[in-house]
Symmetry: C2
C-alpha cells in the first residue's frame, strides 16, 4: 500500500512538472514567444466566450486583483486582451480576448486535449472510467481540504 502511494505520488509530481515544462517550451517555439506560461493561464481564465470581470478572473486564478491588473496591462500592450468598461456599472472592467488572444487560446486548449486524448485512447472504455473516478476522488479530497483552510 505504501509502495502504491509513493508510485502514484511520483507520477503526479512528474506529470505536473512535465505539463508545465512542455507548455512553456511549446509557447517559446511558437509564434507566441512573447507570452509566459502565467500569461497563458490568464488568457485561459479569461476564456473564449463570455466576458468576465477583473475580480472574477482574479478569483479563478487565485491571485489578487492588483496582480491581475498588472498582468492585463502587459497582455493589452501585447495585443491579446481587451479591456472594456461596463456600461451598467462604470467601476467594472470586462476582460475579453482579442482575435489573436482567441487564436492562442485554441492552440493551448488543443495541447491539453491532445494530451488527455492520447492517454485515454490507450485505455479501454472501462479503464478510462476508472481513471476519471480516481481523479474525481482526488479532486473531491482537495476541495474538502481547501474548505478547511482559513478564508
Amino acid at each position: 500500500m505504501d509502495q502504491r502511494i509513493n508510485e502514484v505520488n511520483g507520477y503526479l509530481v512528474s506529470i505536473f512538472n512535465d505539463v508545465l515544462m512542455i507548455e512553456e517550451r511549446t509557447l517559446q517555439m511558437s509564434q507566441f514567444k512573447d507570452v509566459s506560461i502565467k500569461e497563458m493561464h490568464t488568457i485561459d481564465a479569461i476564456g473564449m466566450y463570455q466576458e468576465h470581470t477583473t475580480s472574477e478572473v482574479a478569483k479563478k486564478l487565485g491571485i489578487t486583483v492588483g496582480t491581475l491588473t498588472v498582468s492585463v496591462n502587459n497582455l493589452v500592450r501585447k495585443g491579446y486582451v481587451d479591456r472594456v468598461r461596463s456600461e451598467t456599472d462604470r467601476r467594472v472592467v470586462q476582460l475579453a480576448l482579442t482575435k489573436r488572444g482567441r487564436l492562442l487560446y485554441r492552440l493551448h486548449d488543443k495541447f491539453h486535449r491532445d494530451m488527455v486524448k492520447e492517454t485515454i485512447n490507450e485505455m479501454g472504455e472501462k479503464e478510462s472510467e476508472v481513471l476519471m473516478q480516481g481523479l474525481k476522488n482526488l479532486h473531491g479530497y482537495l476541495e474538502r481540504t481547501k474548505e478547511q483552510l482559513p478564508d
Copy 2:
C-alpha cells in the same frame, strides 16, 4: 468520448491548481512562512539523502543554473540549505539541506502522501491499480512529447 476528454482535462487542471494553492497556504500557516512554494520545490529537489550539485538540481527543476544560484542564496540566508564546495573538484558546489530544511522536507512529503493516501483509500485495490495505470500512460505520453522537443 469528447465529453470524457473534457472531463478528465478539467479534473487535471483543477487538481494542479488546488494542489499548488493548498501547498502555498499550508506553508504560510506553518512555522515556515518565509518559504515560497518555488523554494519548497527547490528544497524538495535537493532532497533528504545524497548531496547534489547545483547543475543536477537545476536540471531536475528545469531552470537555469543562474536562477538556482539566486534562489539558493536566499535559502542559505534563511537557514534551509548548506553549500559545500566539493573537495575533489573545486568548481563543484554540493547542495544539502540543513536540519531545518529536512524538517520542512518531511512536512511537505507528508502532505503529498496524505493527499494520495486519502484518494486511494476510497478506492478498491483494483481501481487504484487502474488509476495508476492511467497516470503511467499519461506520464509516458508526456515523456515522449518532451523528447520530441528540441534540446
